[in-house]
Subunit: 187 residues, 2 copies
């Protein structure tokens, strides 16, 4: 069992995903999730505000990236700041089989799709604010965040296809590919 | 009155926005929106599936961009295809004062924020599919769509700040700025 699956939160995530997959998201209650994880409902609510939140690990990804940004030397440009910080993402990312099963459940349930979009939008807003706190103007912060999130999504997609790959290398090659795509102009 | 405000759909949009702004989104019913627009509830449902949808003009933006993509010559690279197609956006965009009021209502109501994110995600998926139909591989299609949507968002933001600006010029300068941000590498 992976380390994260041994802790309380990981057990709740695993239990929820199993129930969502096998009996459906709509028919699963918080009580059932807690019971399957051998925990109380109270433990559930210590970690997650509601049933939708359990597949999104609260604000773990956001906190991870924001604290990694603080480690990047002042004066680093906007996009390199984000890409360096994204190198910390593997410390919070779930195993590939969990992510694949999770993606299938999300794809099948519009309320979960909406929550995923809200989480990503909230992450993007937090990144824009973090870059602005580092002295970046808003327009550059937004463009760098859009580009950075595209790089992160692309690298994560590759990583789900092959989780033995090195995440930093995936970020680097996604950045190079994005740059090639962005630089194509009309003939 | 702008042309779009004279038609049935425009009247419903205007009426809904007025009610959402002045009495609140939660307290507004479809019946009230229809009444304020001097139309029947049946007319409302001919245009919109529900109350949330009224601020998002159905799939108008998506249809507009997809049909503009079809006009772009085959063989044009992915991102230039999108940017050329986005030049058609001003034909469906609402006036600046409507957009500003609309943005305030959306910002104040999480269900509307979610719907906006869902619409943008659906637009992005449609663009990826359109690029793939033109022979683009999936990875390039996704990167070009992410970059293209970032350019569109940036240009739209500038346009809301000054709607006398030329939208194609805003797209061009947003693309140039994005490229500059994306090309910055670590020292």
């Amino acid at each position: 069992m992976a380390r994260w699956e041994g802790n309380t939160r990981g057990r709740l995530e695993r239990a929820a995903l199993d129930l969502f997959t096998h009996q459906g998201y709509d028919r699963t209650t918080v009580a059932q999730i807690a019971q399957r994880a051998n925990l109380t409902e109270r433990s559930f609510y210590r970690w997650f505000t509601d049933k939708r939140e359990v597949l999104f690990a609260g604000d773990e990804l956001e906190r991870c990236v924001l604290s990694a940004i603080e480690e990047v030397p002042a004066g680093t440009a906007a996009l390199p700041t984000l890409i360096r910080a994204f190198a910390a993402v593997p410390t919070v990312i779930r195993p590939r089989d969990f992510l694949l099963e999770r993606a299938a459940v999300i794809a099948a349930n519009p309320p979960l799709q909406e929550r995923e979009l809200v989480k990503l939008a909230s992450l993007a807003e937090a990144l824009v604010a973090a870059l602005e706190r580092r002295g970046c103007d808003e327009r550059t912060a937004r463009l760098a965040t859009d580009v950075g999130c595209a790089v992160l999504r692309s690298a994560t997609r590759q990583w789900i296809a092959d989780d033995r790959a090195d995440f930093v290398e995936l970020l680097t090659s996604a950045h190079a590919d994005l740059l090639a795509v962005a630089a194509t102009t009309d003939r």
